[in-house]
C-alpha cells in the first residue's frame, strides 16, 4: 500500500478531456440552434429545462453531500470532499443557466395547440402561464388554475426560484470557502463553523427543496399535484449526484490523482448509491400506489399520460435502469468493490435519472410524438451531450482551482485515509 501521498498535488485541467468537453458544449449549442431553426422550439425548450434542472440538481446535491458529512461529523469522506465542493462551486453557473432557461421559457411565446385549440402560449409552463388563464370571462379562463394563481404567478414563481437557488449557492460557496481557509489556517474554528452552516442548510434545504421541484417540474402540469413529488425528486437528484461524484473520483484515479482513495471509499459510495436507489423506488412506488389505489381522475391523469403507447416503454425502462439495475448489480459486497462494475452502474444511473426526468417533463410539455422510438431523438441526445460537456468543463475547472485535491487540515483526514470496511 502506498502510504506516501502528496497532499500538495494540484489537478491540472488540460489535454483530451478539455478538448472533448469543449467539443461537447459546441455540439449542445449547435443542437439548440438547430432545434429552434427546425421549428422544434417547444421540444428544445423542454430539453433545456430538463438538462438545466438535472445540472442544477447534481450541483445542489453536491452541497447537500458536503453539509451531510459535516453534520454527521463523518470521517470517511474527508479525503474526497473536494469533489462535491467543486460541484458547489459550479452551482452559481448552473443556477443562472436554469433561471435564464425558465425566464426565456416564460416570456417567449409561440403558437401551439392546447386541447384542440390554436393558442399563443409560452414555451414553458403553458398550462398556468398562458394569457387569460386567470382572467374571468376570457376563453382561456380556468377556475382551478385561477384558484392556484396566488402561488403560481410569474412574479412569485421567479422570486421563489431566485431565493432558493441563491440560498443553496451561498451555502455551497461558503462551505467550499471555509474548507479552503481551514487548509491555510488549520485548527477547529472553520470545522465548527462549517458544522453550523451545514445544519442551517439542511433545515433550509429540507423545507425548500420539495417546493423547488413543485415549481420547476410539477407545475408543468399545473392541474395535477402530488405531495410525494418533492421527495421523489430529492431521491432522484441525490442518487444521480452520488453517481456523478463516484464517476469523477474513478476518472481522477485513472488519471493518477487521488491515489489515497481506496476500494473502501468506493465501497461506501456504492452503498449509498445502492441504498438511495432503493429509496428512490420506495418513494416512486409510494406515489404510484396511492394514485393507483384511490383512482381519482385528477390524480391518475399523470400516470394516464405516461401510459400512452409513446411513453410506456420509457416509463418501464426507468424502473429497470434505476431500480432493477442497481439492485441486481451492486447488491453483493464484492461487486461494489470492483471499480469497473461500480462505474458501469453509475453510468446506468446517470442515464436512468435522465430518463426519469424525461418521463416527468415531456408528457406535460411537448406531449407524445408519432412513435415511441422517436420520443428520444437528436435534440435530446445533443442537449444532453452539451450539458454533460459543460458540467465536465466547469467541474474540472473548479477542481483545478483548488490548491490541493485533499483538505490537508481537515480534522478527520487521518480517519478518512485509514477508512476500512
Amino acid at each position: 500500500m502506498n502510504t506516501h501521498n502528496s497532499f500538495d498535488e494540484q489537478f491540472e485541467f488540460t489535454g483530451k478531456v478539455k478538448t472533448y468537453s469543449l467539443a461537447a458544449i459546441a455540439v449542445g449549442v449547435i443542437t439548440i440552434l438547430a432545434g429552434f431553426l427546425t421549428n422544434n422550439g417547444e421540444r428544445t425548450f423542454a430539453n433545456l429545462l430538463l438538462m438545466g434542472y438535472y445540472f442544477a440538481c447534481v450541483c445542489i446535491a453536491g452541497v447537500f453531500f458536503c453539509a451531510l458529512q459535516y453534520v454527521a461529523q463523518a470521517g470517511w469522506s474527508a479525503s474526497l470532499i473536494r469533489i462535491p465542493q467543486a460541484f458547489a462551486k459550479v452551482l452559481p453557473v448552473a443556477a443562472i443557466l436554469l433561471l435564464i432557461i425558465i425566464i426565456a421559457g416564460l416570456t417567449l411565446t409561440h403558437t401551439t395547440e392546447i386541447e384542440g385549440k390554436q393558442v399563443i402560449a409560452p414555451y414553458l409552463y403553458k398550462v398556468w402561464h398562458q394569457a387569460g388563464v386567470t382572467t374571468p370571462g376570457s376563453e382561456n379562463y380556468d377556475p382551478i388554475l385561477a384558484g392556484k394563481s396566488g402561488f403560481l404567478n410569474m412574479k412569485f414563481f421567479l422570486v421563489r426560484l431566485v431565493l432558493f437557488l441563491g440560498g443553496y449557492t451561498i451555502f455551497g460557496l461558503l462551505l467550499a470557502k471555509y474548507s479552503e481557509t481551514e487548509d491555510d489556517l488549520g485548527g477547529l474554528f472553520y470545522y465548527k463553523k462549517s458544522f453550523t452552516i451545514s445544519a442551517a442548510f439542511l433545515v433550509v434545504f429540507g423545507f425548500t427543496q420539495p417546493i423547488f421541484s413543485f415549481d420547476v417540474i410539477m407545475s408543468l402540469e399545473a392541474h395535477w399535484f402530488s405531495t410525494m413529488f418533492g421527495w421523489y425528486n430529492f431521491a432522484a437528484m441525490w442518487v444521480s449526484s452520488l453517481a456523478v461524484i463516484t464517476l469523477v473520483i474513478i476518472w481522477l484515479r485513472t488519471q493518477g490523482y487521488m491515489q489515497w482513495i481506496t476500494q473502501d471509499h468506493l465501497h461506501s459510495l456504492g452503498q449509498l448509491i445502492f441504498g438511495f436507489s432503493i429509496f428512490w423506488t420506495y418513494v416512486w412506488f409510494a406515489q404510484f400506489l396511492l394514485i393507483y389505489y384511490a383512482n381519482l381522475p385528477e390524480e391518475s391523469v399523470y400516470f394516464f399520460r405516461r401510459w400512452e403507447p409513446e411513453f410506456k416503454p420509457w416509463f418501464w425502462l426507468t424502473i429497470v435502469l434505476n431500480f432493477m439495475a442497481p439492485l441486481l448489480i451492486i447488491m453483493a459486497r464484492d461487486s461494489k468493490r470492483i471499480t469497473g462494475v461500480l462505474k458501469t452502474t453509475c453510468i446506468i444511473l446517470v442515464i436512468g435519472h435522465w430518463l426519469d426526468y424525461f418521463i416527468m417533463i415531456m408528457p406535460g410539455t411537448v406531449g407524445p410524438q408519432s412513435e415511441w422510438y422517436t420520443e428520444i431523438g437528436l435534440i435530446e441526445l445533443g442537449v444532453f451531450v452539451g450539458f454533460a460537456g459543460l458540467f465536465i468543463f466547469l467541474t474540472l475547472n473548479a477542481l483545478s482551482k483548488f490548491k490541493s485535491l485533499i483538505p490537508k487540515k481537515h480534522p478527520f483526514l487521518q480517519e478518512s485515509l485509514h477508512h476500512h470496511i
Binding site: 412506488f285 404510484f288 393507483y292 389505489y293 383512482n295 453483493a332 459486497r333 476500512h420
Partner: protein
C-alpha cells in the same frame, strides 16, 4: 502428558493483543481463537477468518418471505375467494407489493437472527461457550490449542513477552458450563 487442553494468554489492551497475535504467527504457533469484549478493527483479516456468509442467509430468507406471502395473498384474494376491492381487477399486483416487501424484511431479519444464534451456539437460556469469563468484561484473550508441537513453556514466554498479564492453562475447553 499434561492435562492442559488450551493455553490462554490474557491481555489488558487490544493493541498488545494484536501485537501478541503477530508474535505468535511469527513463531508459527497456530491460534485457536481470540475472544474480545468488543469488536477490534482488522482482527478478522489478521486471523484469516473468512467473510461471514450471513448475507447469503439473509438473501435466501428474504426470497422465502416474499414468495410465501405472495403465494398466500394470491391464493386468498385471487384464487380461492376473489373479492372486488375498489373496482380493481382480482389480481392487483401493486396492492400486494407493500405486504410482500414487509414479509421479505420480516423473514430476512428473523432468519438472520436465528442463523446467527445457530452459527454461534447462542440461544436464550443456553449457557454460552466461554473460555474465560473475563473475556466478556474487560480482558482480551488469545486461545491456543495445547495439542500442538510447540513446548508449552515457549508459548508461555512468547505470550508474556508480548505483554500478557496472565497465562492460563485450562484443563477443559469451556469454563461456562458449570
Amino acid at each position: 502428558m499434561s492435562s492442559t487442553k488450551y493455553i490462554l494468554g490474557i491481555f489488558d489492551d487490544p493493541d498488545e493483543l494484536m501485537h501478541g497475535i503477530d508474535k505468535l504467527q511469527k513463531n508459527s504457533i497456530p491460534i485457536y481463537d481470540v475472544y474480545t469484549p468488543m469488536p477490534i478493527h482488522g482482527i478478522d483479516a489478521k486471523l484469516g477468518i473468512k467473510d461471514s456468509r450471513l448475507g447469503y442467509a439473509a438473501f435466501m430468507f428474504g426470497c422465502m418471505g416474499g414468495t410465501t406471502i405472495f403465494t398466500l395473498v394470491y391464493y386468498f384474494l385471487a384464487h380461492d375467494w376473489p373479492m372486488n376491492i375498489g373496482g380493481k381487477n382480482f389480481f392487483p399486483i401493486p396492492d400486494f407489493i407493500p405486504v410482500t416487501f414487509e414479509w421479505t424484511v420480516l423473514f430476512a431479519s428473523y432468519g438472520m437472527a436465528f442463523t446467527f444464534f445457530f452459527a454461534t451456539h447462542l440461544f436464550p437460556g443456553r449457557a454460552p461457550r466461554v473460555m474465560d469469563l473475563r473475556a466478556t468484561n474487560d480482558k482480551f484473550v488469545i486461545a491456543i490449542d495445547a495439542k500442538g508441537d510447540v513446548p508449552h513453556e515457549d508459548i508461555n514466554t512468547i505470550l508474556k513477552e508480548a505483554g500478557a498479564v496472565e497465562v492460563k492453562h485450562n484443563d477443559r475447553k469451556y469454563v461456562s458450563y458449570e
